[in-house]
């Protein structure tokens, strides 16, 4: 296939153009705005699908496209200073592009139903288009700098969308909070980019990988720690901010103030996934900086902590928000324990089912006009399609076999188990693994609790129940949900449901995910063998003959320490079995509590009372940040600075300067009057004298000017002629 | 010299021999004298012919209008009243030459002559037949457009010099109309120049070999539209109905020649009628194949001249008839409509045609529509 500007750029440009066009249309033809937006993202989807088909056609873990153009070239002699921008598509980007465009298309379509009648309906689509194009630009980027640009662009869109209902004060505060919290991570991210630029001299992925394999980071120290650790940590801080990891997870639950489709798109499927995507891209750096343990701990803590908070939430969107944080924690845990492939797979599967869950929640909220689960109940009779879709997703997120969550999450857990028990690393990874498994127990519980409270049992609020109408199949309401629900089945991601090849559906490609997504550390050498090409307007045919189609090899997708195939296999089997048991008991517990009323939910609550109080306050994180750090720390510091500015600097430096100035001014005043003014007057006098003479010529009569001109020419010719 | 009318006749051996023998008999080279004589004879003949045509134009106008209005028309002087124009001419010449008080004498006399000068100058290049063309200028088409604009000055001055409101208004309208409509005319002609690659009438005509499908009007869709643009704009340039605002009887009495009488009025009228002939003749030469016999039949022979002349006059008189027909069929336009048609319709269409012709030249290598269909 040909990879040129014309075939790749539409993915990014179609939504961007839709945004630009909508900026005009929003005033001229508001009715067209949603159609243009949907058209833009659907066009992007088709182009992305084309690329995906091409990558599936080659089916090689080595295959990648890197094309760039030079934005500016300030090279001076031997100092090379070039800014290259370009596209970098490998198997991971291709899958990611397909996921983002697909999910975004469905969310766009859903939004036309959900947002119908909103006063700022058109503006919503404006933001959605811009956001989608930024996300796609991020995925296509071949360097950290353009990733950072799109990253910030997404941050801005997120800010706008969270504060979309800015009439509500909470929405405004939430948008501010999200923006400011992620900014903390972004500062570190930028610092990391600078550190990498300093060391490698480039921010291109391929250059970075090449530099890492050549050992460019070796022996480089900064602030007493190795530069690789520093850079990796900074980049990972970007992930912490964007993907809402501990300790910067506080913004995501508040972000639920935004409209539900935007939550689905931004805070579940794409933007938060961008953080994980970044960490996956920079995985070699994280490994080189020996940050695996830190990453694993943060992932484990996030996965577990968020899951515990999700249990007691009554707001349907809050449950989903915490579950999102928890699942992102799993991905990060996966990165930490070296489960590269599974972490990315979980990113994709999670994007699909979490988008579906959010859209379904949106469908419910739109139907009953409340977000409180205690007021719902029994809705399955009315919202049939939503109910089906939501159950599929719940089973997927819970990790029930045959669903996608099982394939991805349980591989992460298996890898965590392997690292903790069999890799011979002692007790380093024990706690993350335990936290992960407890989280795996909690996940089905709170998800099923949400389902039972919402759809099952008797209607608790007659008014709410009656308000809800029977659901009909509508192309922009529940069809997107059902499409997404179909893709929650594990069969699309792995032909073998336990991860080790039982069912061969897609001929020899039934483990396509595992084969295609391999860690860059495994294949680092390839970036030096395949030449980079300039990005052209058209043409750009890629020679694919040099890539051999990968035969199916039993690859683990594991990139962590102490790889041992046999033991890993055992660990996976154990992990799968353990999580199957855990899920079974978890669902059973939920059913006992909320369907059969066998156990009163209040009892365990009383039993865990102190902990429940902590959970209720979200582990005091908000209090810590706002009341302690900001109010007691930063504000006091601020006041001290203000005092210094007013009391010291203003009084002595500024006022003192005024005294000096006054003396000078008196001196200069005298000079001005006696010397300068006199000479000015003299000049004026001279000018006046000359003026009266010259005035006769400057009469304003054009013909006299002409005569003067002629006289001048005559004089000149007489001068030159004789 | 070779480009003038004598050059054609000197191609034939017997004339050349006759001149050579005459020269040897007298002892003086007669070639130059032959050129001059032929030129003078041709000029006088064409002028006389065209003056007659102009005069007959008035007769034709009256007769045709009568026919259209179901009247009989002039029928007293000569058979079918055909000598009416002579009678009119004699009447005009014998009338008193009145000049209004306060008129600008110099310009009042000059204006009709400028008009008639502008019109008659065009005959220098109009090809009546292969031989009967006073000069075959390389820039004949350009020359024709340029010199014809003198008519506008004449009309304007006539209107100004009369010291009459009707005349002044008519003159200003006329001048504005003429310089406006010159643009679509020029651009339409330019598309033909583009196709043929020459500014010479003879070469343009020789490129259209006589059969209608070879005519430039059927060369491509753009020239087909271009012909009508040229014809309509030409109508306006001659101040003919429905564009006869400068002499609108109901508004301005008689426009720029209200105050003129006698022979000067006659000159104005003659100029107008002959200009119609010129516009028709130019349209015929550029778009309708000119004097060419089908398939260049008898091309370059002396015997073909009368036939060619007949064909040219036939086509021209047909267009002449159409012009008169239009006059008695359509109502007059309003002044703003007049300018709207010129600037908002004809000029853009003409420019479009020009660009279209250029594209046609590039895309189809200059082949005509018929060629593309047949080959």
């Amino acid at each position: 296939m040909n990879y040129s500007v014309l075939t790749v750029a539409p993915i990014f440009l179609a939504p961007l153009l839709a945004f630009a066009l909508n900026c005009i249309l929003i005033k001229k033809a508001p009715k067209l705005v949603d159609k243009v937006s949907v058209a833009g993202v659907v066009i992007a989807f088709f182009f992305a699908f084309r690329i995906f088909i091409d990558f599936m056609g080659v089916y090689s873990s080595d295959y990648y496209i890197h094309k760039f153009f030079t934005l500016f070239d300030l090279s001076h002699g031997a100092d090379e200073f070039k800014m290259n921008l370009g596209i970098y598509i490998d198997n991971m980007s291709a899958i990611m592009l397909l996921m983002v465009t697909g999910v975004a298309s469905l969310i766009h379509i859903f939004s036309t139903w959900y947002m119908k009648g909103d006063v700022r309906y058109e503006r919503f689509f404006l933001y959605l288009s811009l956001f989608t194009s930024a996300m796609l630009g991020l995925v296509l980027s071949d360097n950290l700098l353009s990733i950072f640009i799109f990253w910030e662009l997404m941050g801005f869109c997120s800010y706008s969308l969270i504060g979309f209902y800015f009439e509500k004060e909470e929405a405004g505060n939430a948008s501010m909070k999200a923006f400011m919290t992620t900014r903390v991570g972004d500062v570190f991210f930028l610092l990391g980019v600078v550190a990498i630029w300093h060391t490698v001299g480039s921010v291109n992925f391929t250059d970075i990988y090449a530099a890492i394999s050549e050992g460019a980071f070796q022996g480089q120290m900064v602030l007493g720690i190795s530069l690789a650790t520093f850079a990796g940590f900074c980049i990972f801080c970007g992930t912490i901010g964007k993907s809402a990891q501990f300790p910067l997870q506080v913004w995501l639950p508040d972000a639920m103030m935004g409209p539900t489709p935007c939550s689905a798109l931004i805070h579940a499927a794409t933007m938060v996934a961008a953080g994980v995507y970044l960490s996956l891209r920079m995985y070699p750096l994280i490994q080189l900086g020996e940050l695996n343990v830190l990453v694993a701990y943060i992932g484990g803590i996030t996965a577990f902590g968020a899951a515990t908070i999700a249990i007691i939430q009554t707001d349907i969107k809050a449950v989903l928000a915490y579950s999102t944080i928890s699942q992102l924690g799993y991905m990060v845990l996966g990165i930490g324990v070296g489960s590269y492939n599974a972490a990315f797979m979980h990113l994709i599967t999670h994007a699909v089912f979490k988008a579906c869950l959010f859209l379904a929640a949106g469908s419910v909220i739109h139907s009953v006009h409340t977000q409180e689960m205690p007021k719902m109940g029994g809705l399955k009779n009315k919202l049939k399609f939503t109910w089906i879709a939501m159950w599929c997703c719940t089973l997927a997120i819970s990790g029930v076999p045959f669903f996608s969550g099982f394939v991805s999450k349980d591989r992460i857990l298996g890898d965590a188990l392997y690292v903790a028990l069999h890799a011979g690393l002692g007790a380093t990874y024990t706690i993350p693994a335990i936290l992960g498994f407890i989280g795996a127990f909690l996940t089905p519980f709170y998800m099923c609790r949400m389902m039972f409270l919402t759809f099952h049992g008797k209607p608790k609020d007659k008014h709410v129940y009656d308000h809800c109408h029977d659901e009909k199949l509508k192309i922009n309401q529940n069809v997107p949900l059902l499409i997404l629900a179909v893709f929650t089945f594990g069969i699309f991601f792995s032909g073998s449901l336990t991860g080790q090849g039982i069912v061969k559906v897609f001929s020899n490609k039934y483990e396509w995910f595992k084969v295609l997504v391999t860690s860059p550390t495994e294949e680092m050498h390839r970036f030096r063998t395949y030449e980079k090409q300039p990005l052209e307007l058209s043409g750009g045919e890629v020679d694919r003959s040099q890539f051999e189609t990968s035969q199916y090899l039993i690859q683990s997708g594991y990139a962590g320490p102490n790889y041992d195939h046999e033991k890993l296999h055992h660990a996976h089997v154990e992990g799968a079995f353990a999580s199957f048991v855990i899920v079974f008991f978890s669902i059973l517990l939920a059913a006992l509590m909320y369907i059969f009323k066998f156990i009163d939910p209040a009892k365990p609550k009383r039993f865990f009372a102190p902990w429940v109080r902590a959970i209720d306050n979200k582990y005091y994180m908000d209090w810590l940040y706002i009341d302690v750090i900001i109010k007691k720390g930063l504000l006091v510091f601020n006041k001290a600075l203000a005092w210094f500015d007013m009391g010291v600097f203003d009084r002595y430096a500024v006022d003192g300067w005024e005294k000096v100035a006054r003396v000078t001014y008196k001196a200069s005043n005298w000079i001005d009057r006696e010397v300068v003014d006199r000479s000015v007057d003299g000049t004026g006098f001279t000018a006046r004298v000359l003026n009266t003479g010259l005035r006769a010529i400057q009469s304003g009569y054009i013909q006299r000017y002409l005569i003067v001109l002629v006289a001048g020419i005559v004089l000149a010719s007489i001068y030159f002629g004789f | 010299m070779e480009n003038t009318i004598g050059g054609f006749f000197l191609k034939f051996d017997f004339i050349k021999n006759a001149i050579a023998s005459g020269s040897s008999a007298i002892g003086f080279d007669l070639t130059m004298l032959f050129y001059i004589m032929m030129f003078l004879v041709g000029a006088v003949a064409i002028t006389a012919l065209l003056a007659t045509v102009g005069g007959l134009g008035t007769y034709a106008e009256r007769k045709i209008s009568a026919d259209i209005q179901a009247r009989i028309g002039p029928n007293r002087v000569g058979p079918f009243g055909i000598l009416q124009f002579l009678a009119d001419g004699i009447k005009m010449m014998t009338k008193e030459d009145i000049m209004p008080s306060g008129a600008d004498k110099f310009l009042f006399y000059l204006a009709p002559f400028l008009c008639i000068f502008g019109v008659f100058s065009t005959f220098a290049v109009i090809p009546f037949s292969e031989g009967l063309q006073l000069t075959n200028l390389d820039i004949g088409i350009f020359y024709l457009i340029a010199i014809a604009s003198l008519v506008g000055v004449g009309i304007f001055l006539g209107g100004y010099a009369s010291n009459s409101k009707w005349s002044l208004l008519g003159g200003m309208r006329g001048a504005a109309q003429i310089i406006s409509y010159e643009i679509p005319v020029t651009i339409s002609i330019m598309s033909i120049v583009l196709l043929s690659g020459t500014l010479s009438f003879t070469e343009v005509i020789n490129m259209q070999s006589g059969f209608p499908h070879n005519w430039f009007i059927f060369h491509n869709p753009f020239t087909f539209i271009g012909f009508f643009v040229l014809f309509i704009a030409g109508l306006a340039e001659t101040n003919r109905a429905p564009f006869d605002l400068p002499e609108a009887e109901s508004e301005l009495v008689s426009g720029y020649h209200t105050e003129y009488t006698g022979i000067r009025f006659g000159l104005f009228a003659l100029a107008e009628y002959i200009e119609i002939f010129v516009v028709s003749g130019v349209s015929v030469s550029l778009f309708l194949g000119g004097y060419n016999l089908p398939g260049h039949f008898l091309h370059g022979t002396l015997g073909a001249q009368p036939l060619q002349f007949a064909i040219f006059m036939g086509k021209t008189f047909f267009l002449y008839y159409v012009v008169i027909w239009i006059r008695w069929t359509f109502p007059r336009l309003r002044a703003d409509h007049l300018m709207t048609i010129c600037w908002k319709y004809l000029t853009p269409i003409a420019i479009f045609n020009l660009i279209g012709c250029a594209f046609w030249m590039v895309l189809f290598n200059g082949k005509s529509f018929y060629d593309l269909l047949m080959h």
Binding site: A696, G721 | I139, A146, A175
Partner: protein, 180 residues
């Protein structure tokens, strides 16, 4: 002989018209004499074998500029002015009457004289071709030159004309809300 007829007629027309143009008191007559002068110059061009330039001259001036001038005169009253403000004290007299005509002629004569003195040297050093080229049609060559070696000027002149067109239309347009 034809050449001499053409040349003398044209030269006479040019010079005579320009003198009359200077002499006449009537602006419209002045413009008509300009027309005669321009036609004379076109004749001179013809005598120099510049047929294309000559026809262009007639087309642009007769068909365009002169009519435009006449229009402008109509719109602005068409009267010539006699000076309103005369100050004897001024060194250089204002003009518009017979006296100023003499002055103008004097200035022009002095100018001509000085230029002649200056340029005589240059003219005398100019080497005139021994054999003046015969008349030959110039259209095709001019066209070729215009789109090859003089293309930039050609394009620039098109831009200039467009600018003049737009500029003239904007300048002459009456301001809205003014007058009525």
């Amino acid at each position: 002989m034809y050449y001499w007829i053409l040349f003398l007629t044209s030269a006479l027309l040019t010079i005579g018209s320009s003198v009359l143009m200077l002499w006449t008191k009537n602006l419209i007559h002045s413009c008509i004499f300009l027309l005669g002068s321009l036609i004379g110059i076109a004749g001179l061009y013809l005598s120099l074998g510049a047929d294309f330039v000559a026809v262009t001259q007639i087309m642009v001036y007769v068909g365009g500029i002169v009519i435009l001038m006449l229009f402008a005169m109509m719109l602005t009253g068409g009267k010539d002015f006699v000076s309103k403000r005369q100050k004897i004290l001024d060194l250089i007299p204002l003009m518009g009457n017979k006296k100023s005509l003499i002055w103008a002629s004097l200035v022009a004569f002095v100018f001509l004289l000085s230029q002649a003195l200056l340029l005589m040297k240059i003219f005398s050093s100019v080497k005139v071709l021994d054999e003046v080229s015969a008349y030959s049609p110039s259209v095709e060559k001019i066209g070729e030159l215009l789109i090859t070696s003089h293309e930039l000027a050609f394009e620039l002149s098109s831009v200039l004309l467009l600018g003049a067109l737009v500029g003239a239309a904007i300048i002459a347009r009456p301001k809205k809300g003014r007058g009525n």
